[in-house]
Symmetry: C2
């Protein structure tokens, strides 16, 4: 891939100051209130006073599950987790598009909205083996110049309770998955130690991070968070372990919350939220105050788990802020960090941001301030990834076949 020298002019930063940005060799070379064009600027872009923000990060997607791009599929499942797992197994045999093509549809959607880094969970179980993983690996390769993708080997049907899965998770990491996942060690496997032993063992042997789905409620959930924190500390994996969802953190009493948040912070376990609709949302400000990294993702988009989801992390930030009772510009800015700098920290992305030396990943969108852009979440005028214009006015530019 070749990238050109870019000069972006007349942009505005989060709280309103004007800025020009010069890009060289895929990185931010210069930032200032008024930069002169030079010979190396082969692409001159005028933001016309619009906002420039760092490239967005979607910390939790299911690229292999999405039905985006297919005709509307009414939600097929009953209300329980196990009914949804079964409904999905039934559905996936009858889909007219491959995992790779469906993943590509969702990647194009999130790219058009300015997401240039994402973490996806990919189902691994004895029935599908590594098939979904291979599909997502192919999609990742196709879009490698457009977006960076971390893959979590995700045991959607359980680990201990689904014999053969642990070995497949290990194989999945060998085949290219970047992290190993888990799912409700108590609620799904009925054996918290058993599942966590298996997951942490793979992580240790393979040298990869961990991202565990946790829907278990109340004090059952927080007791699992403590187990995860203990193992994270014991294996020295601080900063490389995430628990996704963690609704329980919004359900327990003050004292239990405080103790749990402290353990998460000490051990370096991050919390991912998608801004749930009908479950409790983890208390973002209190977690951050305790020193816990909190970041954001879309979760299911138009799949057999959920009919919702736009693939727009600015809109997602608004939902999370709305669910959190955030109203001030400062609170909206906190929510925005969940899809930008906090997510970069959780995903271990370096050179992230709008400073000189950072990777030239940025997004331009209308809005006089960050708060207004979050609330209106207008179409993205421009999306730049490593110095390459990957989307313009909501359309991906020269997407791979």
């Amino acid at each position: 891939m070749t990238t050109r020298g870019i000069l972006l002019r007349n942009a505005r930063r989060a709280f309103g100051d004007r800025v020009d940005i010069r890009v060289r060799d895929g990185a931010i070379a210069e930032v200032g209130p008024k930069l002169e064009a030079s010979g190396g600027d082969s692409l001159l872009l005028d933001a016309d006073g619009a906002l420039v923000i760092p490239g967005l990060i979607d910390g939790h997607l299911h690229l292999d599950k999405t039905l985006l791009g297919l005709p509307w599929k009414p939600h097929p499942a009953g209300p329980t987790l196990s009914e949804r797992i079964e409904a999905e197994k039934h559905l996936r045999h009858a889909l007219p598009l491959s995992v790779e093509d469906r993943a590509a549809n969702l990647i194009r959607r999130v790219l058009s909205n300015g997401t240039v880094h994402l973490r996806t969970h990919v189902d691994i179980d004895p029935e599908i083996g590594l098939e979904n993983l291979y599909g997502v690996l192919s999609a990742r390769e196709r879009f490698k110049d457009f977006i960076s993708i971390q893959i979590v080997a995700f045991p959607q049907s359980g680990v201990v309770s689904c014999p053969g899965t642990a070995a497949l998770l290990d194989e999945a990491v060998e085949a290219g998955a970047d992290l190993v996942g888990g799912l409700d060690p108590a609620g799904i496997d009925g054996d918290p130690d058993g599942q966590l032993d298996a997951v942490f063992d793979i992580a240790e042997r393979r040298g990869v991070g961990i991202d565990i789905h946790l829907h278990d409620r109340g004090e059952l959930g927080t007791s699992e968070l403590v187990l995860i924190a203990e193992r994270t500390a014991a294996q020295g994996m601080g900063g490389r372990v995430t628990v996704s969802h963690g609704f329980c953190l919004g359900e327990v009493d003050e004292a239990t919350f405080g103790r749990t948040a402290e353990r998460l912070a000490e051990s370096g376990v991050a919390i991912l939220t998608h801004g749930p609709g009908s479950q409790a949302i983890p208390p973002i400000n209190r977690l951050r105050a305790a020193g816990v990294t909190v970041f954001a993702g879309s979760d299911n988009i138009r799949d057999s788990w959920s009919p919702y989801g736009s693939g727009d992390m600015v809109e997602r930030v608004m939902w999370i802020a709305y669910r959190s009772g955030f109203r001030t510009d400062q609170e909206l800015a906190v929510a925005f960090e969940l899809a930008t700098i906090a997510a970069a920290k959780a995903l271990g992305l370096d050179r992230y941001g709008l400073d000189v030396g950072c990777r030239a990943d940025f997004v331009v969108l209308r809005g006089s301030t960050l708060g207004e852009a979050i609330v209106e979440h207008p179409r993205r005028s421009l999306v730049v990834k490593s110095g390459r214009v990957v989307a313009h006015e909501g359309t991906v530019i020269d997407p791979p076949e």
Copy 2:
């Protein structure tokens, strides 16, 4: 206003069947799978397979509060109700646009999204008197061919605790308000009977309906709902009383909920929800099963109470559905009724819907089914009010000066 004969062809109803609609004299004259054009069809419209839905209803707005159209204003208030009331009083002295012009900005926004009926609350207190009411009355007159507007005289600063307000509410109804409002009879006035006596007295003498804001929590709130139901029954006002918000219904135990819902249903008190972010949402399906009318509105849009809100009732329906844990097409259709037929019932609108004889109020938008349209809530292709095209592709047509 003159309206022309219209033939809308190639539209699709909520669950996918194709339909043509003929309009004469502002009403739906004919509906069928394939209608032939006739001489009276001076306007032929092709929906190209897009969805046609009834004109949308926003059951709860604050036209006098919005800052839409002004430069972004960071949220100025602290977290309590009384801090927000004070912040607003401070802010409203310094606004560069009149109430009428700000109301017009929001009316244009909701119109572009297909809302053709709305109920707005307008602040009444001894400091502003009827000034906001006059502004909203003027805006209503300007847009009378575009949208129908019900006005609630709303005692934002309380009734009993704010001497002089009751008389002003009465004057407001005489001056053109269609309903009388209330606000947390316990939480704001500390005198539930006192406030409700005053409000129901005005309603009885003036022959108008009632719409009361209720934020009071838990069993305090449900006890006020019972008081309101009792007075509604005693005055024979069933079907003409609304309680807006009623977060308490999502907070109390099963038995208290059941008793309260039964009283609301028997007496004919409707519940309005905007799909709150950080408060409990009333349980929609359980209220409907008990026989309570539940409908939807936007509440605050870009004002000193909330930075959020798009003025799009299809998006609002999605938020409400998401907050309610709705996933199936049937559940999404229930949520949709809150902004259409259930709202029409609560507002007492006759001839509502897509049947022959109904007022020709309809909206065309992309989507193969209602579920998809709700989730994607795309730009409205066409908005027709009483047989007149009032918006096209997101733009209001010939808005009044």
